[in-house]
Amino acid sequence: MKRPLMLALLTVLLAVPTAGLAKVKIVATLTDLAWIAAEVGGDDVDVTVLCPGHRDPHSLPAKPSLARKMRKADLLVYNGLELEIGWLPTLVDAARNPKIRSGQPGELNCSLALGHDDILEVPTGEVDRSHGDVHTLGNPHYLLDPRLGVAVARLMADRLAELDPDAAERYRTRAEDLAVRVDSRLASWEALVRASGNGKIIAYHQNWEYLAHWLGLEIIAIIENRPGISPAPRHVEQVIVLGQSQHPRAVVAATWDHVDGARHVAGKVGCGTVVLPGATGGTDAAVGYLELFDTIIAQLADSGGDS
């Protein structure tokens, strides 16, 4: 009699805390994805991020300590479109975690949330490295369109529902809540930029295509015309001449870009420089994904002067 009782007690003692603590461990490559994962996952997940928001996600150093963060992950969420190609494959190998390897349920390429027409700047001609670090699958900076962030949230909800069926409904509900919150802000964000006048900008790097596409801005020139390669002086001169004839509202750069180069061009063109957070956490004000757009939109709307 005593033995079955002890066994039952032991079973209860082991089972109760396990059920209560069985959170899905998510590792996100980017802060935007980490924020979305935390919103969708709520109390059902623990989220860790690899690349801080103030760091250029193209060139994160593949530190072994990052691989360690991935060792016990149940789910790896990453941007895809080769944004993290310079460091993520190395880290996945070093993590030695079979759950998050390619093709496993614990691996989620978030660019799969995008439809074919959503992906911008897919190269159509011949591509080689003389063009710089060209992303052959298309421009990877889609998270700078909040509508695509919502698509990612829904994709994450579906994957989390597969991994953790007991909480499936909660994941999907939270993703839809997030969609409503984004939708409620879209119109005011768009109106703020539209009302602030001239829609032409010069960009330092090809980060801003999705943002421009969403807001109806026109990028008239890119300073770093070969991605990842320092711009040639002759090209910078051409950008300045073009800018002087087209009068853009600002030169836009991310906090991690060579801001001095952007300021130089803006000074010659006679417009302001807008230094924007490139991701959630990129500046103190951009604490979350929604605040990221609050910050970007406010700075763009105010881009008559040098920010």
Binding site: G86, P98, R129
Partner: protein
């Protein structure tokens, strides 16, 4: 040599035919989709040495050409194969005097398991020994044109490459700590290739993120085998090493300032041989502009045999007290190429001979080359 070159040509032709096969694979049996990622790295140098040890390397030469093939084998294994061509120095050619010839070798041919869990890993095949900070690197990853003298004097000019098995395990400590245990054939230059006993060793890597931008690595290595200085005599040799690396990379600007400082000490322990041999180096690299790096390094290799020691030992192993001092400037416009200018001064403390070298090095990588670890 000719036979090996023939194999390489056949391999390239097979790969090329697969690459153009397109969607006829059902019929032809060759598929572009399943091809490995292929890359080729080339490293060329132009060198002027004033005298002595390196005079035979004066002029232009390819330090090496390495072709790398990487792919998943199946759900359980990932494979990496590196075939390298490297010069054999100062071979006599009757008709033309000195001529550089090239030797082909398997630099790496390794499969890594993909299904082990709990932080465990397994590699099998031919690989560079995971000993110390510099030896596992490929030539194009070196901070200077040549590997540190403090290591090459004991292990040979090329990083020791061996056939064997490695097991990697996560050490459950509050910081990153990784243990690597391995057993290999013991055929590289430091070992007695004729002896069939295995060589084996371990490396414990520890890394701390001091800040967002800075990290500190402190690691220790041990390697045991049969001493190549005493061929056929079954004498033991142990190599002990400690390396310390501090890295700082600006996180706020792409291509912003970065500093790396590395020091490594090697203590060979011969059953019979020189007293207190030691090799060491220290180097610093500073990225002062987006594409420009400045480097400085020094090192020493010391193994004094004593005048009455067996002359055979002098023939088979390093004996002397060599020191080196190097400065370089590297222009790296992308991660796929660099041009490096270097000046090095080398001194033999025992004979008093010295040598100064000026080196211009050009490196390029084409194709899909895997990223390197931090």
């Amino acid at each position: 040599m000719k036979q090996m070159t023939g194999y390489l040509i056949i391999l390239v032709l097979i790969t090329a035919s697969a690459a153009v096969a397109g969607d006829t694979s059902t019929l032809s049996g060759v598929s572009r989709t399943l091809n490995p990622a292929i890359s080729v790295n080339g490293l060329m140098r132009a060198q002027v040495a004033d005298k002595n040890t390196s005079a035979e390397m004066n002029g232009f030469q390819m330090d090496g050409v390495e072709a790398q093939f990487t792919a998943m084998v199946d759900p359980f294994w990932k494979a990496n194969v590196i075939l390298g061509l490297h010069p054999v120095h100062a071979e006599e050619d009757d008709a033309h005097g000195h001529a550089t010839t090239y030797e082909m070798g398997i630099e790496e041919a390794v499969v890594e398991n993909r299904s082990m869990s709990a932080g465990l890993g397994l590699k099998a095949g031919r690989f560079r020994l995971p000993f110390g900070k510099s030896l596992p690197l490929h030539m194009h990853q070196y901070a200077f044109a040549d590997a540190p003298l403090g290591l090459t004097s004991f292990f040979g000019d090329h990083s020791p490459t061996e056939n064997g098995v490695q097991i990697m395990a996560d050490v459950p400590l509050p910081w990153y700590s990784d243990l690597n245990l391995y057993g290999v054939s013991g055929e590289s230059e430091a070992f007695d290739a004729a002896n069939k006993d295995l060589a084996y060793g371990a490396r414990l890597t520890n890394l701390w993120d001091v800040t967002d931008d800075a990290s500190l690595e402190l690691s220790g290595s041990w390697l045991h085998g049969q001493d190549g200085r005493h061929p056929g005599e079954s004498q033991d040799v142990d190599f002990l090493g400690v390396d310390l690396t501090w890295k700082w990379v600006s996180s706020t600007r792409t291509g912003g300032p970065a500093v790396t400082v590395t020091g490594e000490v090697l203590f060979p322990q011969y059953q019979e041989g020189p007293t207190d041999p030691v090799g060491w180096y220290a180097l610093a690299q500073y990225r002062f502009s987006r594409n420009w790096w400045l480097g400085a390094g020094l090192g020493q290799a010391k193994a004094e045999m004593g005048l009455d020691d067996d002359p055979d030992l002098h023939a088979h192993g390093f004996d002397g007290d060599l020191r080196e001092y190097k400065l370089n400037l590297t222009f790296a416009p992308s991660e796929f190429s660099f041009v490096r200018g270097e000046v090095g001064r080398y001194k033999d403390q025992i004979t008093g001979e010295d040598d100064t070298r000026a080196i211009l090095q050009v490196n390029f990588t084409i194709g899909s080359h895997p990223a390197h670890m931090y």
